[in-house]
């Protein structure tokens, strides 16, 4: 299971090179997202996973506790 993290952890991990990924539908990402995040909607994960580097941590997020 993926480790659940808080805001402070996101800031620390991204400073260390972690990739931040919003998994909501693209339209929601385009309206508003965390600065620096990539958009890979859950429904497109298999097709777009090549955009992510496997040697770096990945942080996924959506709207809130969904």
């Amino acid at each position: 299971m993926a480790t659940e993290i808080r805001r402070e952890d996101v800031q620390a991990l991204t400073t260390d090179g972690a990739q931040l990924v919003e998994v909501l539908p693209r339209q929601q990402y385009e309206q508003e997202h965390i600065a620096g995040a990539l958009s890979i909607p859950l429904s497109r994960l298999e097709q777009e996973v090549g955009r992510l580097r496997r040697d770096r941590a990945v942080i996924v997020y959506c709207y809130d506790y969904q």
């Binding site: 993290i5 385009e30 600065a35 620096g36 859950l42 994960l45 941590a57 997020y61 809130d64």
Partner: protein
């Protein structure tokens, strides 16, 4: 949704996968940088007063009232140990028996709104109330949105003051 994405990434061979469970609403509510076509649009969480006084449910009204009024407020949000909103103490309640605990004097279950809502979406409830509480989806207090603050921010939108992305 992030749970499924994280699980799938693990099965796709990614070893270091984390879930930022509170999500972008938590990020935005904290005023951290955002991007996008709506990023410059003020949200309820942006205009909420973060310095609204709070008290624990077991505190005595006398102590609470002194602290709240010294801070220049006339109301107090009753929260639990994790800042989850339990109720509201308004002016009349603060003037009650000073030995009463907050839990027994509060108005329980005040209506709350999420910080990501556009200010215009909170306009209707603010026609009937002077203020509304803004909380995260798990009930944690973000702040209090005052009608006057919402009107001021909406007025600034009309003047184009909120067009820049944050």
């Amino acid at each position: 949704m992030s749970a499924r994405a994280a699980a799938r990434l693990r099965t796709l061979g990614f070893e270091r996968v984390f879930r930022y469970t509170p999500g972008k609403m938590d990020w935005f509510a904290s005023g951290l940088p955002r991007e996008g076509t709506m990023a410059g649009h003020p949200r309820a969480g942006d205009a909420a007063r973060r310095d609204v006084p709070t008290c624990q449910w077991r505190e005595r009204l006398g102590d609470v009232a002194r602290r709240v009024r010294a801070a220049g407020w006339d109301l107090c949000v009753v929260v639990d140990e994790e800042a989850v909103v339990l109720g509201l103490l308004e002016a009349a309640a603060l003037d009650g028996d000073p030995t009463t605990v907050a839990e027994d004097a509060m108005r329980p279950g005040p209506t709350t709104f999420r910080p990501h809502l556009a200010l215009e979406e909170v306009t209707e409830p603010l026609k009937r109330k002077e203020h509304v509480l803004i909380t995260t989806s798990n009930g944690r207090l973000v702040g209090m949105l005052l009608r006057a603050d919402a009107e001021r921010h909406i007025g600034e939108i009309g003047k184009g003051a909120h067009t820049a992305s944050r």
